[in-house]
C-alpha cells in the first residue's frame, strides 16, 4: 500500500499541504479532485520525490520512503505522468520510451507491446515527440511511465486540453493497465470522469482533505460543497 | 480573508542605528581627510590601493548583485579610465587631477557605446562576452604605438609636483573615489533605480509587467558602474605612475572585484566593504607566501560559494539583523 501520514509540504516558505493523510492499495484506483491550487499536484510530487518531505511522511509497502529522489521512487515502482505531458522534445517518441524503459523495472509493459496496442504510436515512433497532437502526446506520456512497470501510477491531469475522443483513448489505455493490477492515483479536473473511473476519491481543498469516500456512493451535493469550500 | 496575515512571515526586526551613525561617519571622514598630515607615504599608498579596489569592487557588485549583470571583463573599464587619464594629461599638458573628469567622461562614453553590443548577450554569454571585449582592447593597446604599445606610458605632469603634494593629492582622489562609490551605491539603492533593479533581480517578467523599464535601469547601472570603475582605475594608476596594457587590462582586476564581493557578500552594500578589508588583511598577513596566498584566496572563494554563498556579511547578518546603510526595505505589516 502507498500512503501518506499527516504530511506537510512547502514550496520555500509557502505551505501547500497541511497534515494530509491519504492511501491507495494495490490494484485500486483513487481519484484526487479539487479546484486549482488545492494541492493535488503537490501531493503527487511529494509522493514521487519531487518535493521534499519528512522520512515517515510517505510509506510504501510498510517502508518509510519520504524525501527520496525520483529515480529511487521509480525503482520502488512509483511513477508519475506529469501535468502538461512534458515529453522530451529533443527525443523521438521511441527514444522517450527507450530512455524510460532502460531506467525502469522489467515487466509486462514493453515497448513492442505498446506499439502493438497502439499502431498510431508505431507509426509516429521516429517523429520528435512534441510534433504530435495533444492526445497522442498524452498516450506517449502515459506509455513512458508504464514502460517502467510501476506498481503505482500517478496521473496528473491527463485529460487537460484533450478532445473527448482523445480522453476516451487515454482512459482506455489506463483501464487496460488497471485490469492487470496497476494501482492508479488520478488527479482530474473533470469530477464526473474522475468519480466514474475510480474506486475511492479524496476531495482536496487548500492543502487538506475536505471529503473522502467510495466513488460509487459519492453525494454530488456534498462533493460540490467540499470542492468549492462552501 | 482571515488566512492572509498568517501566510506572510513577520519581517525581521532590523537594528536601526539612527543617531550614532551620522556622528561616527563624520568623525571617521574627518580623520581620513586629515590623514596625509599624520601618516607615512607607505600607509597612504596602501590606502589608495584600498579605496580604489573598494570602488571597483563596489561597481562590480552593483552590476552583479543588483543588476544581474555578471561581468568577467571588468578590467576594460579600468584600462579605459587609466589610459584616458594618462593620454589626456600627457597630450593636453594638463594637471592630472583636472583630467580626472575627462577620464570619467571617456569611461561613461565607453560604457554607453559598449552597451550596444554587450546588451545583446545575456547570462554566461554576456559574462564571457565582456571578457572578449576586454581582451580586444588589451590586444589593441598592445599594438598601438602612440599609446606606448607594450611598454605603456608614464604620467609626465606628475613630475612637476613635490612628493608630499603628489601623494596627498592621489590619496584624496582615492578617498573621494571610495566614499563616492559608497555614496553613489547607497543613493541608487535607496532611490527609484534601486527599487527597479531589485524588482528585476527578484522577478524580471513581473518587473516588466509592472512597467519597470528594465533596459533603462540596466543601462543606467552599466554606465554608472563603468564610470566609477574607470575613475577608480585612473586614480589607481596615478599611484603607480605608469600604465601598461598588461597591467590595466589584466583579468586580475575582475578577480579582485569578484573575490572581495564574494568573500564579503554579493548584493549587499556592506559586502564589498568587508570583502576589501578581508582581502587586504589576508594580503598583508600572507605576503611572503607568494602563489600560496592566491591559492588560499581561490580556495576561500570556492569554499564560500559552497558553504555561505552570501559571503562573510551573510554570516554576520544571520546572527544580528544589521542594516548599516539602511537600504533594506521591509514588508508593511498588515
Amino acid at each position: 500500500m502507498l500512503s501518506t501520514d499527516s504530511v506537510d509540504a512547502y514550496y520555500g516558505l509557502f505551505q501547500a499541504l497541511f497534515g494530509l493523510s491519504f492511501s491507495v492499495s494495490p490494484g485500486e484506483t483513487v481519484a484526487l479532485i479539487g479546484s486549482n491550487g488545492a494541492g493535488k499536484s503537490t501531493l503527487l510530487k511529494t509522493i514521487v520525490g519531487a518535493v521534499g518531505v519528512r522520512r515517515d511522511g510517505v510509506r510504501l509497502d510498510g517502508e518509510d520512503v519520504g524525501g527520496d529522489s525520483e529515480p529511487r521512487q521509480l525503482a520502488r515502482g512509483v511513477a508519475l505522468v506529469p501535468e502538461g505531458r512534458r515529453l522530451f522534445g529533443s527525443l523521438t517518441v521511441l527514444e522517450n520510451l527507450q530512455l524510460a524503459a532502460r531506467n525502469g523495472r522489467s515487466g509486462p509493459w514493453t515497448i513492442p507491446r505498446l506499439m502493438q496496442e497502439f499502431p498510431v504510436m508505431k507509426e509516429f515512433q521516429h517523429r520528435p515527440s512534441t510534433a504530435l497532437s495533444g492526445g497522442q502526446q498524452q498516450l506517449v506520456a502515459i506509455s513512458r511511465a508504464l514502460v517502467c512497470n510501476p506498481s503505482y501510477l500517478l496521473c496528473d491531469e491527463i485529460s487537460l486540453g484533450l478532445s473527448p475522443l482523445a480522453v476516451n483513448e487515454v482512459y482506455r489505455l489506463l483501464s487496460r493497465a488497471r485490469s492487470e493490477g496497476l494501482a492508479v492515483v488520478l488527479v482530474e479536473q473533470n469530477v464526473t470522469r474522475a468519480l466514474a473511473e475510480s474506486d475511492r476519491f479524496y476531495c482536496i481543498q487548500k492543502g487538506r482533505v475536505a471529503l473522502s469516500g467510495k466513488s460509487a456512493e459519492a453525494d454530488h451535493a456534498k462533493v460540490a460543497q467540499a470542492y468549492f469550500g462552501m | 480573508m482571515s488566512d492572509f496575515s498568517t501566510m506572510i512571515p513577520e519581517a525581521p526586526k532590523v537594528l536601526r542605528i539612527t543617531l550614532v551613525l551620522p556622528v561616527v561617519t563624520m568623525a571617521v571622514c574627518a580623520l581620513l581627510i586629515a590623514l596625509p598630515w599624520y601618516s607615512s607615504f607607505a600607509t597612504q599608498r596602501l590606502l589608495v590601493e584600498g579605496f580604489t579596489v573598494f570602488a571597483i569592487a563596489m561597481a562590480w557588485n552593483l552590476l552583479a548583485g543588483y543588476g544581474g549583470l555578471v561581468v568577467v571583463g571588468h578590467q576594460m573599464f579600468v584600462g579605459v579610465g587609466a589610459y584616458a587619464l594618462f593620454a589626456s594629461s600627457n597630450w593636453l599638458g594638463l594637471n592630472p587631477w583636472l583630467c580626472l573628469p575627462i577620464a570619467a567622461l571617456v569611461s561613461a562614453l565607453f560604457s554607453l557605446i559598449s552597451s550596444v553590443p554587450m546588451f545583446r548577450l545575456s547570462g554566461a554569454h554576456f559574462a564571457v562576452g565582456t571578457w572578449v571585449l576586454a581582451e580586444m582592447l588589451h590586444i589593441l593597446t598592445l599594438n598601438t604605438t602612440w599609446l606606448g604599445a607594450g611598454a605603456g606610458m608614464p604620467l609626465d605632469a606628475l613630475g612637476g609636483f613635490d612628493r608630499w603634494t603628489r601623494n596627498a593629492g592621489v590619496y584624496w582622489a582615492a578617498l573621494a573615489a571610495g566614499l563616492g562609490a559608497l555614496a553613489i551605491a547607497r543613493t541608487i539603492l535607496r532611490g527609484r533605480l534601486g527599487l527597479a533593479l531589485m524588482s528585476v533581480r527578484d522577478d524580471e517578467p513581473a518587473a516588466l509587467a509592472s512597467g519597470v523599464s528594465v533596459r533603462i535601469a540596466k543601462l543606467s547601472l552599466w554606465v554608472i558602474s563603468g564610470t566609477l570603475t574607470g575613475l577608480a582605475g585612473a586614480v589607481s594608476y596615478m599611484n603607480t605612475l605608469q600604465v601598461t596594457p598588461d597591467a590595466t587590462f589584466s583579468l586580475n582586476w575582475t578577480a579582485i572585484a569578484i573575490f572581495t564581493s564574494v568573500l564579503g557578500g554579493i548584493g549587499t552594500l556592506e559586502g564589498p566593504l568587508v570583502g576589501t578589508l578581508l582581502y587586504f588583511l589576508l594580503r598583508e598577513v600572507f605576503a611572503d607566501y607568494g602563489a600560496w596566498y592566491l591559492i588560499g584566496l581561490g580556495m576561500l572563494a570556492i569554499a564560500t560559494m559552497v558553504v555561505a554563498p552570501g559571503g562573510a556579511w551573510s554570516l554576520i547578518t544571520r546572527r544580528w539583523p544589521i542594516d548599516l546603510f539602511r537600504v533594506r526595505r521591509d514588508m508593511p505589516k498588515l
Partner: protein, 288 residues
Amino acid sequence: MQIAIETLVGGLMLGALYALFGLGLSLSLGVMRMINIAHGDLIVLGAYLCSVIMQLLGVGPFLSLILVVPLMFVIGMLLQSLLLNRVVGGGTLSPLLLTFGLSIVLQNVLQETFSADTRSLQAGDLALRGFHLGGVSIGLLPLLSTVVSVVIFAGTNWLINGSHLGRQARAVADDPATARLVGVDDRNFFALITGFILAVIAIAAVLYGIRTPFAPSSGPERLLYSFEAVVLGGLGNIWGTFIGGVIIGVAQLFGAKVSSGLGPFFGHLVFLATLLARPDGLFRRTQR
C-alpha cells in the same frame, strides 16, 4: 593566392583543434547549463600531466595518453561530484564564481609546481614534418589534430544520438525535472559527463602541447577560444561547435597575416560581430 589557400587550410586545421577544446564546454553548457571558467586551465593541467608522465616513464606524448586519459576522467568525475554538483542548477552566478576560484587555484598550483616557464611536449620532429598537396604545404601535426578532432566529434555525436547515455543527456538538457521522473540520476550522470569532458580535454591537451609552448597562465586564452567556438556554433549543436572553432581558427590566422600581433584580435572581432548579428549562434539546437 597560394598564401591565401595555405592560410585558409592552416586556419581550418587550427580551428579543428579549437573545436576540440570547445567540445567539452559545449557539453557542460548544453547539458548542465553551467560554464566552467577553469576549462582552459584544465586543458593546461592535462598538458602538464602528460609532460610529467612522459618524464617519469620516458615515453612519447601519445603513449602517455594511455595513463593521462583515465587519470583525467577520474579527476573530472571527482571534480563534478565533490565540487560542481553543489552549484549546478543554482543560476549563473554560483558556478561562474566557483569555477573562477578554481581557475585561480589551478593556475597558481601549476605555477608553484612547475614554475612560470613555458614548456612543450616533445614529439621528435612531428611538429616539423609536413608535405605538399597541390602546391599547398600541410603540416603533419595539424593534419593529425584535425583528423583526431573530426573522429572525436563524430564519436560524440554518435554517442549523443544513438546511445542511452546520449538520450539521457538530451533529456536532461531539455527538462531536468522530468528527466528525474524517468529515472535519470543527475548527480551521477553529471559526474560521468565531466569525466568524459576531461578525457577529451586530455587528448586535446596533447595535440596542443606538442604544437604550442604552454605555461601555467595559458589557461584563460584557451577558455576564450573554446567559448567562442561553442557560442558561435550555437548551443546544443555539436557540429556547430566544430564549425565555430574552424571559423575562429581561420579568422585568427588571416588576422595574423594582416598584422602579426593581431591574430587573436581578429578571432574576437569575428566572434563579436557574428554574435551581434545572430545572438543565438549560427546553428540552432539540433532537433531530430
